[in-house]
Symmetry: D3
Subunit: 298 residues, 6 copies
């Protein structure tokens, strides 16, 4: 089971100019074959389906713990999309209030969503369970995980170059660093399990994160070197797998002492009445909420 | 973001007689349109996409918090399936080791999985992102959530009757109780928001859980009345929405003091070498794990 | 627009022994690529999208009118499936009431349906809009329609041989005759439009309906020769296309004087409480209905 | 079975400026999850699968009859799309005749269609049978129907605001009024069945149709208050369910005396030779049709 | 089995101005329902599944041989797309290198591909195996093949008109001629098998290729009249089916003496480092390749 | 382009006892995510989309050439399925001729096919283009190819154990050996490109083919060590990549002198009239074929 903290793993800038085209492309990082729904669900189901956990505890702990981090990644990508769509629709529901988004490439962000993220890729195709490989064969699954992170990194680099909105840049800057750690973690696990030396595959694709400005703040904080446990008491044996030098920098990999990054409180994105979010008359919801709080003594 | 606890929300019995037919049917509760992937992802994305959270905090807290519980439900259903499939394949990978599962209705539980759960429904169709409605319109989303729980309850009742394996019964007994709480929670939220009186819709379908033996232990512990917050510090305002009498029993709804149920440690399901989980030679993984632990001083 | 008559185009026998396996196969005739959803929707959308109707009225009338008959075919196939599933579940919702259908090949007929038809094919794959070709190019669309009826006839013949339940036999006996008329109609339309002689393609597949006992009552009534107009006042010009000799028997094709076959009233299929249809306590619905009728003076 | 009337339920304006972008968005109302294919097919299959009809006749009649109206809605939406696409392609099939639609968001309206409607949503995803819920559980299905109409209303309102083409406005003006009646009908049915009071959920989303100019002509004619039976002789007991005051206006709900609205004859949309509809040389089809009519004495 | 020749069946012009919009439309000819993946896979699987080949050798040879040609067609369409996308992304992977393709209608050509073809249609929907009909019924399959080529020709004509890029024009000019031969071949096969006279269906759609400039070079070389055997020693009996006059020109159909067209060497499309193809640092791959060649003495 | 040889790469035994259950499972090796359609299409599209081929010729040659072999694999798997289904239906199309396959897990092998292979996986889900990764990034694509072969090997091993029909055993025995070569080839390519040492990942899954009796004849012929070029004149530089010791046996990898294996002529599978293949009256097709041959002087 999980506990949820109402914080983002990293800071996403507040809304600025809306960018529906960019937001439509960022969907690839959410619901694409190599998006964060895929990383989250692959590792989650691999952990659910893991057999003989006691016998293979270091590997179980690694996969189960990284799964937890990926929840934060679907949260971050969704937040980025929602932020980039804020302000795209006019203020009030009335004739033509949505005329400005008629040419938006992903019409369903407004029709099916409330200027918000969908569980789709950049072409509007829904994420589906076939994107999950959880065969139970540890070597096989780790090989897939390594490749999945490779594909995810490819997509993050391309979205970084394609979308210049500051929110997309902040997002991909962070995800590239953290995805890099996961890529290393699975490669190390494979090495530990088989003896194969995979470190020369890094970086893949062949662009080091130290060339990307938006990665630097995270690298400076050492986020490219450490795994969190994401658990008060569990997953401690991942340290038996995740260690040794980073393949690109030579620095030592480490398990963080803190359970999770401090993160930041999300900006409270403003209502978008024209897409009925949280309703065409947001004031109505506010009043009711205030009354309910009062009645409940909160 | 989340923290993960390596415990199940409820106890799932250990492996007994394998039941591939039953396990294939239980998939409906995982990857079906009204399965737990749907409840988990609907509430999760509704919480990500929630606008003006401060203004509508009690409702945001309710949805965000229930989302966290649903992670535990996909975990429980997966565990049930994995347990029911344990022992279905013969002990060793060799000619015919899998002959016994040739007639299994879901062949991919063995071919794509390691005698394990898939992100599919009972007919082998993958779960997909179209099953998520997160429009941002609070009244609309809550109406959907109420119906989603109704459909989920329908499916749980039917799986309960269709599959008599003790694991399936334990699973559905628990989920019916907790799903019932969520059904009430969304109905209450709608009432608080609109004034509509929806309590006479309960139970829907019209079978009270007090007729179901496997529900009784959970009802005795009051699990049919309370919401957990699933968070150390957040989601406290859900108490402003979740209150009043239970529509079936008249007892008072309450927010639990403990953050989450104590739950239980999962049975460590044994290796199934014939499906290569965690490999055709499990001893190999065990030895390596032992060595790694030793090297890491754990 | 349409008016609906609460009658079936042909008689479907009442429930006898339930046959979930057969009912699962009959789904191919409903939601398969060559099932009746496909014929209904292809002709319906071709009629909606028809341009220059006045200039091509005989062809428009033909397509639009046959579309109307196909509604009756999805109704017949659904009725057959529902009849074949009646009695498959035990009488009462209680532990194990559905145990008997645990091995049913289409579990969702019981989980997602109420022992009832789904918009799926025989493998549980949902019908989808890609099965529709409505290009607007009259020669192209008629060529497709001819092939679509060929594929449909292939499937009906095979289901006839595969499923020996009397309901399936009655269904396919009727559909083979009526589908044959549509196959001829589209071939005649093509001939009239291009001069190509397609009559030697009949029968396709090469099994004449006069070898099939269940077709004979319908052939005796001349149902293999006539098109109905399915409309009080419209579609009269189809007679300009649908004429000449039947390719297999040499008899003259004709437009029926009656607007539609007399048909028959459907058997009122009994409640199946174990699948909650129309609820786990059917008496509850009956009482309410009686009261409402009384209050409304009906 | 059905009879078909070659008339539209409401008037759709004739072609004016083509609007491929708008026509691509209107597809959501046809093939989207909450589009008219969904309402049509949900109620149609619920009526096919309805058990114990005699015992629950008022409810059967309600669902079966509304299903018939929805056929007219897929007809209206398709007509609107076809009208908005008329003139988008140049007059003659020749090099570059289709260059003008190269940037159309839905390329398949021209490639797979003849400047015409597809069985898809606004992102080009085909409608599929999974959008149908026909569980047989009356309370469950009515709850879903109420939500389905809520989602449909949400989409209609948004399309109204997004697309300012007069055809789209006329379409959504009409559909909002009629969809509102269905939303009320299902809520009333639920109330009658359970005693729950759902009227305060109206309007949902919270925009009354009396604020929308294009709804007014229909409201003036009382179209917001009445259900038609859509049948010469059947479905008379729906009056036992559909009665009482309208939740927004307080006026009395009623069953219309006329079987269906008078409606209007569709504009005969002109040939579009550049997309081969009804062929690259429309004159050819006209001449043949004239000859066939003459030969048939029509 | 096959042998592969590293040549294109026809010449595709070298890269000129990139045209992502056009390349997105050309996808319909690759992965659309009537695209070349469909023709290739339909005939391939029909040949695999062909029963009693000795007894029906002329027909088997025809289908099996045309299948081989279709491989060359998926190669040509892919090459055209890749050529049209060359240069669309800036030279180097760096911030904004892909900004220029942010508005490309098919974002995945850059995100999932390397400025390259995908196994999708023009709306981004993946090709799937449901597009294959291989029933084994010879008359049925040939009827379908004739229609499939009709649909393919419809799409090629429309893409020809919609996309004026010289590469798209060269591609469709060639494919129209060769597709026309296949359309004739399947019609002739049907005639030979049934006696039906289908020649008056040509051309379908009703635009003769002699009106299309880009078809002329191929017609002059007689490419509209001949089938190749595409095999050193096999498929010789196709001559028993493919003969007689061409339905449009009256010229005699013939089996070519050469096994396959001479074709041409593909232009070596330049690296596109900004989409990491064949990597962000193409020089790296070149050096390694040179070294490997040297070490291997090549 | 390709030339086609009407021979199988390896021998598939003639029909013996039909095995519809087994044939349904073998579909996973054809249309599954890790089936041969996936290997064929992945490498084919990677070769089509390969940029700067001259600069990276050894790698291009490797991928393009292996693609050609994979065509032979979809042919082998289809042949195996068709063989296993031969005789499953009774001899003649008549009432009940197909009754014996009513319980076949893949009903569409008989309804949509003619007792024949479909482009589907073992659960009846169609293969789709999303299973193809052809990003153009050479390191990324080779990593994927290595994993794809790993997944394919996993599936082949499991099908080997699950299905004891001699045809399935012969099939998987051969494919395991050849798939192993491809797995090595891609690992070697990665090593050559990056310096990473991946040889210790073999075998993956951890079952050496020398333990599998049906692999031995092929291993004895050295089929586990060599790549064919599959081309009269091209793809010669693959030798620069494919060399060095085999990771499991230490024997030297080699490029075969012969262009392709000699293979064998397929058994001519007998007509199955009950599924209309090649028609319900096979004699009819035979006579026509004989006449056509005679007329053509063949």
């Amino acid at each position: 089971m999980i506990m949820r903290l109402d914080r983002l793993q990293a800071e996403i800038p507040p809304p600025s100019d809306p960018d529906p085209n960019g937001a439509s492309i960022v969907q690839e990082l959410l619901g694409g074959k190599f998006g964060e729904m895929s990383t989250f669900m692959n590792y989650t189901f691999q952990s659910f389906n893991f057999r003989n956990r006691a016998g293979a505890q270091p590997f179980y702990d690694l996969v189960a713990s990284i799964a937890a981090e990926e929840f934060g990644h679907i949260e971050l990508v969704s937040t980025a999309i929602n932020t980039m769509l804020t302000g795209a629709a006019k203020a009030k529901p009335k004739k033509g209030a949505l005329k400005g988004v008629k040419d938006a490439p992903n019409t369903q962000q407004f029709l099916a969503g409330g200027a918000s993220a969908l569980v789709q890729d950049s072409m509007g195709k829904p994420w589906n369970g076939d994107y999950v490989n959880a065969t139970g064969d540890l070597i096989g699954d780790l090989t897939w995980n390594f490749f999945l992170e490779t594909g995810a990194r490819n997509n993050k680099l391309k979205v970084y170059e394609m979308v210049d909105h500051p929110v997309a840049r902040a997002l991909t800057g962070y995800l590239l660093v953290r995805g890099g750690v996961h890529q290393v973690a699975y490669a190390r696990a494979l090495e530990n399990l088989t003896g194969a030396d995979m470190m020369k595959l890094f970086p893949s694709p062949r662009i080091p994160t130290d060339k990307i400005p938006e990665c630097q703040p995270h690298i400076k904080r050492g986020e490219h070197l450490k795994l969190y446990r994401w658990s008060p008491d569990d997953f401690k044996q991942l340290a038996a797998v995740f260690n040794g030098p980073h393949p690109e920098t030579g620095e030592e990999l480490e398990v963080a002492e803190e359970l999770h990054p401090e993160g930041s409180v999300a900006h409270d994105l403003p209502a978008q009445p024209a897409v009925f979010s949280p309703g065409p008359e947001p004031g109505e919801v506010e009043e009711i909420s205030a009354r309910l709080r009062k009645e409940a003594g909160i």
